[in-house]
C-alpha cells in the first residue's frame, strides 16, 4: 500500500475526507515550495499535489499559467522537483503527487521517470493531457513500483468510459467539477452532486473533486459527498499575494487551514 492508499483508509476509519492542496513547484522558488509542503502537513492537508511547470499548460487558467511561467523563469525542471521531493522525504510522510503535462514525462522517458519518481518518494502521478487510452505503457511501469496513476472524470465523460478510468486509476480519481480550465469560480455547477453520485455508483476508487474550489462554503459542501476536495488556484493566488512578505509560508498555511478545517 502506498502513502495515498494508507491515507484514504486512515481517513475512512476516522470518517473524514481528504483535503488536497495543489501548488506549482518553484513558485516563487523551490526553497519556499519545500517550506510550504512542510507547513501544509501541519495545516490539515492530507495530500499535496506539486505542479510541474510547463510551457504550454492548456488545462490551466490564468492563475496557474502565470505560476508556471514564474517557475520556469526560475529554472525549475522536473529533475529539480524530484530532488525536492527527495529532500522532503527526509522529514515528511505526507503523500505527494506530481501534476504534470505529458511532454516533460515523455521527454524524460517514461521508464526512467517512473523509476526516479518512486526513488525520490513520489506517490502518484496526475497528467491532465494523458487519458488512459494513451497511458498503457505508463500505467504498466507505474504498477510495478506501486506508483499511483490518477485519471480524470469530467461532467462530459460518457458512462461507457467510466470502467476504463476506474480500472486505470489507483490512489484516487480526480473529478473535474466543471467543464473548463483550472481557476477559482464563485459558483459551482448545480448538477455537481447528482453527476458525482452517478459516477460513484460505477467506480470503486475514492473520487476527489477539483477545479474552481476556493471558499470554505464550497469545501464544506463538496466534502459532504466526495471523498476529497482539491484546492489549487486559490492557494497559488495566496502565494502571489504574499510573495513579498517575510512570513509568506505562515500566511499561506493560515489560508490553507481556513479551508482544510471544513473537510
Amino acid at each position: 500500500m502506498n502513502r495515498i492508499d494508507q491515507k484514504f483508509s486512515q481517513l475512512k476509519r476516522n470518517k473524514k475526507k481528504a483535503f488536497i492542496a495543489f501548488i506549482t513547484a518553484g513558485d516563487p522558488d523551490l526553497t519556499t515550495t519545500e517550506k510550504l509542503v512542510l507547513a501544509f502537513e501541519r495545516s490539515g492537508v492530507d495530500i499535496v499535489e506539486l505542479g510541474v511547470p510547463f510551457s504550454d499548460p492548456l488545462a490551466d487558467g490564468p492563475t496557474i499559467q502565470a505560476a508556471s511561467q514564474r517557475a520556469i523563469a526560475q529554472g525549475v525542471t522536473l529533475k529539480k522537483i524530484l530532488a525536492l521531493v527527495k529532500r522532503l522525504r527526509a522529514t515528511t510522510e505526507l503523500p505527494i503527487c506530481l501534476m504534470t503535462y505529458y511532454n516533460p514525462v515523455f521527454h524524460f522517458g517514461e521508464k526512467e521517470f517512473v523509476a526516479q519518481a518512486v526513488r525520490a518518494g513520489v506517490d502518484g502521478l496526475i497528467i491532465p493531457d494523458l487519458p488512459p487510452e494513451e497511458a498503457k505503457t505508463l500505467i504498466a511501469q507505474a504498477r510495478r513500483v506501486n506508483l499511483a496513476t490518477i485519471f480524470f472524470l469530467a461532467p462530459t465523460t460518457d458512462f461507457t468510459r467510466v470502467a476504463l478510468i476506474n480500472k486505470s486509476s489507483t490512489g484516487f480519481i480526480y473529478y473535474v467539477s466543471v467543464a473548463g480550465v483550472t481557476g477559482a469560480r464563485t459558483a459551482l455547477p448545480k448538477a455537481l452532486r447528482a453527476a458525482l453520485k452517478a459516477f460513484q455508483r460505477k467506480s470503486t476508487k475514492p473520487i476527489c473533486v477539483g477545479f474552481g474550489i476556493s471558499t470554505p462554503a464550497q469545501v464544506r459542501e463538496i466534502a459532504r459527498y466526495a471523498d476529497g476536495v482539491i484546492v489549487g488556484s486559490a492557494i497559488v493566488k495566496e502565494i502571489l499575494k504574499n510573495k513579498n512578505k517575510k512570513n509568506l509560508v505562515a500566511c499561506v498555511a493560515k489560508f490553507v487551514r481556513s479551508l482544510s478545517r471544513y473537510v
Binding site: 515523455f106 493531457d129 494523458l130 465523460t157
Partner: protein, 392 residues
Amino acid sequence: MTKPDKFGHFDEFGGRYVPETLMTLLADLERVFVRLRKDAAFQREFRFYLQEYAGRPTNLYLAKRLSAQLKTLKVYLKREDLLHTGSHKINNTLGQILIAKRMGKTRIIAETGAGQHGVATATVAALFGLRCDIYMGAEDIERQSLNVYRMKLLGARVVPVTSGSKTLKDAMNEAIRDWVTNVANTFYVIGSVAGPHPYPVMVREFQSVIGQEAKRQFAQAEKRLPDYLLACVGGGSNSMGLFHAFFSDKNVKMIGVEAAGLGLDTLKHSAPLNRGTAGVLHGSKSDLLQDSDGQVRVAHSIAAGLDYPGVGPEHSYYKKIKRAEYVAVDDKEAIAGMKLLCKTEGIIPAMESSHAIGYLEKLAKRAKKNSTVIVCLSGRGDKDVQSIKDII
C-alpha cells in the same frame, strides 16, 4: 491505407492527448466524421460549396518563364492562391463547419497564425450565420493587421493572445481552453493536420482535394505522373493535401519545405522535422521543438503561418517511413522565392508558399533534365506586402 489506426496513431505519432473533458466530444466528432465522409448528401453539399463558393477546381498552371530560368525543371503551380479568401484554408473550414452544423453547434472558434485560417473560418461562419471567435497571438496581430481587419469585417471577434510567445502555439492553447470551457455549443475548427484525433485525418480528408485535382490535371497535361511534389510545411495542411493522393505512387518524390528562419543552426527556426525530437503538443505526438527539459521552444519564421514548433503527426510518419523528404528554407531564401515568382510569373505568393518556391533553385540543381514538379501555391501574398516592404 491503414493509417491511422482507430486511435488516430500513425505508428507512434498522432493519438489523442487531451483533457478528459474533451474525450467524449472527440469520440462523437469522430463518429460523425466517419459517417459523413461516406454520406452522399454531405459530400454533395461539400462539393457544391467548394465549386460554387470557394472556386474549385483551381488551375494547375505551367509556369513557363520560371521553368525556363530553372532549366532542368518544368514547374506546375497548383493555384490554391486563387481560391476565395486567398488560400487553401477554405477547403478545410468549409468541411469542418458543415460538420459543425450537422452536430448542432452554434459557435465556431479557431486559432490562426498568418490569419489565413482565421479569415477562412470567419468567412464560412458568416456564410452560415454562426458566431465566430478567432484566437490570434498578439505578435501575429501586429504583423498581419490586414487579415485581422478582414476577420473583423466578416463579423468575427479577434481575441488577442498575450500568453507565452504570443504566436500560433499560444493561440492554439487559448483556443483549446475556450473549447474545454464551452464544449457543449462550440466547434473548434483546427486549421492544420494537427491536434487530437480525428483532426489530422479530417483536415487531410478536406484538403486532399488539392492532390486529387492536381493528379488529374497533371495527367491531362503530361500524360504521366510528376517527378516531384513540393509544398511548404508549418502544421502541414497544404502539403498533406497535395501529397495524400500520391501516397501509393512510389515514383513521385515528395518534398516538404520547413521554415529555417534565421538558420537551422540557430534556435530561431520553425523546423521540427529537421531539428526537433518526438514530443506531445496540442493533443498529438509528433516532431517538436523542445529544450532538454521537454519545454516547448518558441519557433521563428518570417512567415507567421509557419511559425509553429510542432507539425502534423502524419508528416512525422512520412518522414519516418521515408515517404517524404523534409528540407528547410530560411527567411532570406523565402524572400528570394517570393521575388522570383513575382518577376517571372506575375504572381505574388504568400510568405508561407514562398518557402516552397524558395527551394526550387536547389531542386533544379539536383533534378535530372526534363523533370516535372507540382508546387502547391497555397496562398497569395497580398497579406504580406505591408510587412515585407520594410524588409525588402
